[in-house]
Amino acid sequence: MSVLSGIARRVGRRLLSSIPALLGVVVVTFVLMRVLPGDPAVFFASGPSAGKEEIEQIRHQMGLDRPIPIQLARYLADVATGNLGHSLTTGQPVTQDMERRLPASLELTFTALVIALLLSVPLGVAAALRPGSPVDHAVRMLCTLGVCVPTFVSGLLLIYVFYYLLGWAPDPTARLDIFASTPPDITGFYLVDFAMTGDWSGWWAAFTQLLLPAISMALFVLAPLARMTRASMLAVLGSDFIRTAQSVGLSRRRVVITYALRNALLPVLTITGIVFSTMLGANVLVEKVFSWPGVASYALDALLASDYAPVQAFVLLMATIFVLVNVLIDVLYGIADPRVSIE
């Protein structure tokens, strides 16, 4: 019980301390978007022949004729009440558009993170168990190469190999084949929704569609995760308690996994936070390559149409997710290492 309340207090404190940063993020996004080139009022007037009056009217409607500080105050109030404005291209409230598209992005990012962790932690451990061996060198080489290939290039090459050459992967556009039926909208995560309705052929279709974009994202972040696992495993394996565990004759599995890995995971958790930020950025590229209907491609389309409400909302959303993930990591930290929560 005291552990739980300790965690709750920890979450609360971390959330509180992230408020100034979030506020800064809102202000920075606002300022950035207000100096965008091109007058959206002109863009969305009926046409190039639109009269001055019409443009003025749209400017007034959008609140663009007010002084910047007043626009900012209004914007802050809107954000606080969850009103992020209307997208001028889709005509829908941005919050609604985002809500519909966010699960697609999150499903992609989390799948990629899981793949990256499932690959990199064993690789890092294997490398650390035999430093200087061929395994170690192979892992190092894989990491060095992985971080050098831009996500958009590896994504396209994966498409070439697995869709064009081998024919294993489905058409690399969207979350499902256009002729396939979408699952009932329960969580918005296709994998979860298909599993909940027991539609396993649908689940498989969604999974294969998800695999290539997730892998191309995972490859890019493999390196920091595997390197950190290796380094911290090496440090832990050299410590006294491991020597003790070995000398009292505990099984190798127990020594490596229960004792060493649990202690070595802390720095890996820390770097996972940084990696997550990279992945949110890489999301933009991957969604474009795979025509993934997520928030990033939505924001990108809006950006190129100088429609700034969605872009503002997107940047804000990404920063918020990043902050929340960091809070989550902090909590996991406390669970992985109970010493951290005692202050």
Binding site: S18, P20, A21, L22, G24, V25, V28, T29, L32, M33, V35, L36, P37, T144, L145, V147, C148, V149, P150, T151, F152, V153, L156, L157, I159, Y160, Y163, Y164, L165, D171, P172, R227, M228, R230, A231, S277, T278, L280, G281, A282, V284, L285, K288, V289, L300, L303, L304, V311, F314, V315, M318, A319, F322, V323
Partner: protein, 288 residues
């Protein structure tokens, strides 16, 4: 031989000695040097005009005449890759240079003076770091205008936090060192202490950061132009070339994507290996 000449040969010999022990670093240095040469002499190395289209030979796979094939307008991909090296390196070097100079000076003063300036800059850096950095770069380019110089500025800004923090921390631990006090006692102003004594002292450690950041900066700039920001077609640039080739990948035209992708990869690889090598030489404890 004069004293300076002896000094020079011994430095050269030392560098050679180090490179012999680190073949990977040696290869990376050679590769980087080669890249710089290609970038400088690009106009003399391109067998074809990088922006001249030749529709009769569009989408031709690699052969003896066109080493890397041609794109959808019949432009020679090899020539375009070579021509793009100059632009891509220029963007990365300028951006990293800019953020290095600004970051070192700002971070240096923050670490030296502390106080209110330090707190505000710290807060600003925190806000920057709260953004996923590529997303921030996107927003910056969109806000400042879709032009090449703004890609440089955006890339510089997202690199800035690292340099500010680094310079701040390094200067902070040295601010009370004896030689700083000595410089003050000799009548050096605060400005001169920071610029002439403290910053040169942290420079070697920052050099490693520069090399690692160059690769990252190239990836960022290429990513931005891939999504349609910054450099505009028909200018040859690796990110744009990949973006243009993306449309043809599902029909098996791999060379449009693979060769510019390879150029990007090799460039980033050389910079990263060089950075790793420099770090190993300067600080063997950091090795992972």
């Amino acid at each position: 031989m004069s004293a300076a000449a002896i000094q020079r040969t011994s430095t050269a010999r030392h560098v050679l000695f180090i490179l012999r022990g680190n073949p990977v670093t040696a290869i990376a240095s050679l590769g980087t040097a080669l890249l710089v040469l290609i970038a400088i002499f690009a106009p003399f190395l391109t067998p074809y005009d990088p922006i001249a289209s030749d529709v009769a030979h569009a989408l031709a796979p690699p052969d003896a005449a066109h080493w890397a094939g041609t794109d959808q307008l019949g432009r020679d991909i090899f020539s375009r890759i070579v021509a793009a090296a100059r632009l891509d390196l220029f963007i990365a070097v300028t951006a990293v240079g800019l953020s290095f100079v600004v970051g070192a000076v700002v971070g240096g003063f923050c670490g030296y003076r502390g106080g209110r300036l330090d707190r505000w800059v710290g807060r600003f850096v925190d806000v920057l770091m709260a953004f996923p950095l590529f997303v921030l770069a996107m927003a910056l380019v969109a806000a400042l205008g879709n032009r090449m110089e703004n890609i440089i500025i955006a890339t510089a800004v997202i690199n800035l936090p690292f340099y500010i923090r680094f310079a701040r921390a390094e200067v902070n631990v040295r601010r009370n060192a004896g030689w700083v006090e000595a410089a003050r006692a000799c009548g050096d102003s605060h400005l001169s202490v920071v610029l002439r004594f403290l910053l040169p002292n942290v420079l070697p450690a920052m050099a490693v950061q520069i090399s690692l950041n160059l690769g990252w900066a190239i990836l960022n700039a290429a990513g931005l132009s891939f999504i349609g920001l910054g450099v505009q077609a028909p200018t040859p640039e690796w990110g744009i070339m990949v973006a243009e080739g993306a449309r043809f990948i599902t029909t098996g035209k791999w060379w449009l994507v693979a060769f510019p992708g390879l150029a990007l990869m090799l460039t980033v690889l050389f910079f990263n290996l060089l950075g790793d090598g420099l770090r190993d030489i300067l600080d063997p404890r950091m090795r992972t």
